[in-house]
């Protein structure tokens, strides 16, 4: 399995968690990004993620390889959803196992920050007022 995946169906967190298992790991930290019902003060109904798959997979893999080099961790995995999501849905999952919790927390945080900053995936939010919009990483709208 690649360490970074795109998924167009719900993420199976239990199965992913088992991939992190290791007899020498004492800590496992996971991050889940969920679809919130509000963003920047606007009521959100649902959202859609679009990805540029070839580059997203390469970038995601690069980020996870780098995390394994930089932190004393055993396994690091990430799955990002694409397509339509509802409020409460799991949009992105990052899991890291390590001998000790310092490295697991630091690497998990690093990976989600890097994924959000660099992987070519775009979020389109659909608002209760009928508007929709592609977002910047800081949550402000992009217009082309």
């Amino acid at each position: 399995m690649s360490a970074f995946c795109l998924a167009d169906c719900p993420i199976d967190v239990a199965r992913l968690g088992r991939e992190l298992a290791s007899r020498s790991a004492g800590a496992c930290v996971s991050f889940e990004g969920w679809v919130r019902d509000r963003n920047a003060g606007k009521a959100v109904l649902r959202l859609a993620y679009q990805a540029y798959p070839a580059l997203a997979l390469a970038e995601g893999e690069r980020i996870l390889v780098h995390a394994r080099e930089r932190f004393a961790i055993e396994h690091a995995l990430c799955v990002h959803r694409v397509g339509e999501l509802e409020i409460g849905d799991l949009a992105v999952w990052v899991g890291v196992s390590a001998a000790h919790r310092d490295a697991a927390f630091a690497a998990c945080r690093h990976v989600i920050d890097e994924i959000k900053a660099h992987v070519p995936i775009w979020k389109n939010e659909f608002y209760r007022d009928g508007a929709s919009g592609w977002l910047h990483p800081d949550g402000s709208p992009v217009s082309a």
């Binding site: 992987v119 070519p120 775009w122 592609w134 217009s143």
Partner: protein, 79 residues
């Protein structure tokens, strides 16, 4: 030269297409973006974008080859 362009997010909405093939004299991504921005009326400044060629990040002045796949990437917002 002929290029294949892919569009994502706001650029896909604005151009109205996910991909297009283009014959042009533009020889690098900078010139190519100027041309498609003019043709599609794109308002997103080049400084806000990154560019990828054949599935890898590239520079704005990287010389393009015939049949390259070129993608102008709006600011990402995954996660």
């Amino acid at each position: 030269m002929n290029y294949r362009l892919l569009y994502f997010a706001s650029l896909r909405d604005r151009t109205g297409c996910a991909s297009e093939s283009l014959a042009t004299d533009a020889a690098d991504p900078r010139a190519l973006y100027a041309e498609i921005a003019r043709r599609h009326g794109l308002g997103l400044a080049m400084e806000r974008l990154r560019v990828a060629v054949n599935g890898e990040f590239a520079q704005w002045d990287t010389p393009l080859q015939d049949n390259d796949e070129v993608v102008f990437l709006p600011p990402v917002s995954g996660g």
